[in-house]
């Protein structure tokens, strides 16, 4: 049986102000079903780019390599097809949609993926009940469903809103791009619990973070260190603690 998520030799570049910039330089990564993997690494090493490329953002051009998800060629799929297939990206900076009611957005999204997955669509009443419960579990104020998507949300509210969307969309693979950044300790715990509730043998996650704190709650299976567009080192949870104490310099020097 093929791996759950298999990335091999992935290279990608972006056209930045007319100049092509190579960001991913051969990423190899495989994540089995049911595992939580972490990517750490210095700023600018390509962590967010990897998450965008996996989610299908069109600004990035994949120049080499493959990525398969549930045995499907992930890179050939449209972003919405990847979402329907079970991929979710919690954005580092969630996007504001002025005038778009949060509950309406969530329901449209949930029903879009349900339709694509051959499930029955939810009516407004059933959806709202589900959304309210999920929001409550994340200690979100009830009015956040009525507000416009991410407009005027604090940093912490935006991150919780991402986790709320993830909860409702029921992905099998979630990428969390610095979902812990800018959160106070209580919010961090709530967000981590939200992720932990999804954990199951059929659910995997790729967590991008700089901080050990989140990992105390999440208890990851593998840690990967990314630098200059490649995974340079992989190890168990102890690797994250080591980085937390010693920084990246030592590891970077070793591979240089």
């Amino acid at each position: 049986m093929s791996q759950f998520l298999e990335i091999s030799g992935l290279c990608a570049r972006i056209d930045a102000d007319g100049q092509e910039k190579q960001i991913l330089r051969g990423v190899d990564l495989s994540i089995p079903s049911g595992e939580v993997h972490v990517i750490m690494g210095p700023n600018g090493s390509g962590k967010s780019t990897l998450s965008y490329v996996l989610a299908g953002r069109e600004d990035y051009e994949v120049t080499a390599g493959t990525a398969t998800f549930h045995g499907q060629d992930l890179l050939a799929m449209e972003p919405e097809e990847r979402a329907a297939a079970g991929l979710f990206l919690a954005f580092q900076s969630p996007i504001e949609l002025p005038g778009v009611n949060n509950a309406n957005f969530l329901r449209t999204a949930v029903n879009a993926v349900r339709r694509a997955r051959g499930q029955e669509e939810l009516d407004a009443v059933a959806f709202l009940k589900m959304a309210r419960e999920a929001a409550k579990a994340l200690s979100m104020a009830p009015d956040m469903l009525k507000r416009n998507v991410n407009v005027g949300f604090s940093g912490g509210e935006k991150k919780r809103n991402e986790v709320l969307q993830m909860t409702l969309l029921q992905p099998t693979f979630a990428i969390l791009d610095e979902t812990d950044s800018g959160l106070d300790v209580d919010a961090l715990r709530i967000v981590a619990e939200g992720v932990n509730r999804l954990r199951a043998p059929t659910f995997s996650a790729l967590v991008i973070t700089h901080h050990q704190k989140l990992l105390d709650y999440l208890v990851p299976d593998r840690i990967h260190v990314m630098a200059r567009g490649r995974i340079i080192l992989s190890g168990g949870p102890e690797l994250a603690r080591q980085i937390d104490q010693e920084g990246y310099t030592k590891f970077l020097a070793e591979v240089a």
Binding site: A55, G56, R57, E58, D59, E78, P79, E80, R82, A83, A84, F88, L89, F91, P94, I95, L97, P98, G99, V100, F105, T108, A109, V110, A112, V113, A116, N148, Q165, L169
Partner: protein, 430 residues
């Protein structure tokens, strides 16, 4: 005559119209009034279906009794080509003293009222198209709400152009007496057509002391094909007079159709403390052109006006907001707030905002805000990552952009308008 029709300041372009070649009157074959839905012309029903009129409203057309529902009943005066063929709920309205009938009938039944008000808000010589309309109009709607009466239902007219080469010259007159109120809905569509068609309607509203008129339009006439062939020319003059103190006139429009739209629903704020409102969404796609906006003429003291205009341009279309806010010397304490937002989809369309502000009173306060934005790649990607197709994402973002206007529409109309916005922008991205 040729050459005089062009409003040279409008940012629209079209070949000269041969007015001698236009048909000024075309009546569908007369049939006796329908007694049940089965007796209604199936062609008419099909049209209503396309327009998205709920079945129970279609039944209303045939005079079928419906059980009391949650929804406010809607009376429909259908203008089918140039002659109104069905008017419903006449009885309930009659009991309330409200007159709602084809203007051709009003001329015969209520000549004094028509004579008193017709042409007083939009004089025949106001502009080229109002002159044309005044000379040749054959039908339209007439509404009269007597003193103190709150019209018991929303009044609705669905227009349709279905005869080949028929110019439509509708005339609408709405008079609301002291302390009375009415909400009027106007929705339009037209089937596919190859040749350009002219539509030059005139709408006049009169509001007396403490009266209120809410006039909502969803306009979806044939915009021409994607190469800009065919489509309706919509050259309309709409104006309301707030004659009485504390009277209020509110225009809400969602304009998605027509090859060329040229209209400026306006308010003359004469009565002390009277209020004018204009909420507009104008969508242009492919080769459509729209030059639309409003005029708020402040004559009386402490008059107030609000303008919220949302313009969405896609394809190779061009859209202009053109608005006049004028405060006359006696309008002390007049206030206006204007907000114009433009949203661009793609890189071949245009959006323009042309505000004219004239204040002759030192105490007036006029505010104007304007923004221009594009649907960002970030927003599209965010929506698509959540499972929405690109077109659904555009629809959602556009509806969000228009929310301040759409919320002014009556509930049923708002739903229809949301669908319309999405349909109008189909194929505009990707």
């Amino acid at each position: 005559m040729a050459g005089h029709d062009r409003a040279k300041w409008a940012k629209v372009a079209y070949p000269p119209i041969d007015y001698q070649d236009a048909h000024y009157y075309a009546a569908p074959r007369k049939k006796p009034g329908p007694k049940s839905l089965d007796e209604v012309d199936p062609e008419l029903l099909r049209t209503y279906e396309k327009l998205g009129i709920p079945l129970h409203e279609q039944a209303l057309l045939a005079g079928v009794e419906v059980p009391e529902g949650e929804r406010m009943p809607v009376a429909v005066d259908a203008v089918f080509d140039s002659v109104s063929v069905a008017t419903t709920f006449r009885k309930t309205l009659e009991e309330a003293g409200v007159i709602f009938c084809p203007i051709s009938e009003a001329v015969k039944e209520h000549p004094d009222l028509v004579r008193k008000y017709l042409g007083t808000v939009v004089p025949a010589g106001d502009n080229f198209f109002s002159a044309l309309n005044s000379a040749v109009f054959t039908d339209g709607s007439f509404v009269y709400v007597p003193k103190g009466v709150r019209c018991p239902m929303e009044l609705s007219t669905y227009f349709r152009i279905n005869a080949k080469n028929t110019g439509q010259f509708e005339r609408t007159l709405i008079v609301v007496e002291e302390g009375a109120s009415v909400s009027y809905l106007e929705g339009c569509t037209a089937p596919m057509r190859d040749e350009n068609q002219l539509h030059a309607a005139v709408v006049e509203l009169v509001a007396m002391d403490d009266a209120s008129i809410k006039y909502s339009t969803v306009q979806n006439w044939y915009p021409g094909d994607e190469n800009g062939r065919g489509g309706i020319y919509n050259f309309v003059t709409k104006r309301g007079a707030c004659r009485g103190a504390r009277s209020k006139i509110s225009w809400t429009q969602v304009e998605t159709g027509s090859a060329i739209t040229w209209k400026y629903p306006s308010c003359i704020l004469q009565g002390e403390g009277s209020v004018g409102e204009f909420y507009s969404v104008a969508v242009t796609n492919n080769h459509q052109q729209a030059d639309t906006g409003t005029k708020m003429i402040h004559l009386g003291r402490n008059t107030r006006s609000t303008i919220i205009a949302k313009t969405i341009s896609a394809g190779r279309s061009d859209s202009t907001y053109r608005g006049l806010v004028r405060v006359q010397p006696k309008a002390s304490g007049a206030r206006n707030f204007t907000q114009c937002d433009s949203l661009l989809i793609g890189d071949q369309c245009g959006a323009h905002t042309v505000p004219y502000i004239e204040s002759r009173n030192m105490n007036a306060r006029i505010e104007h805000e304007a923004t221009t934005s594009k649907i960002s790649e970030d927003q599209l990607f965010y929506c698509r990552q959540r499972g929405l197709s690109e077109e659904d994402a555009v629809g959602l973002i556009v509806n969000g952009f228009c929310r301040d206007v759409l919320k002014e529409l009556p509930m049923e109309f708002a739903v229809e308008a949301q669908k319309l916005l999405q349909i109008s922008l189909e194929g505009s991205v990707g």
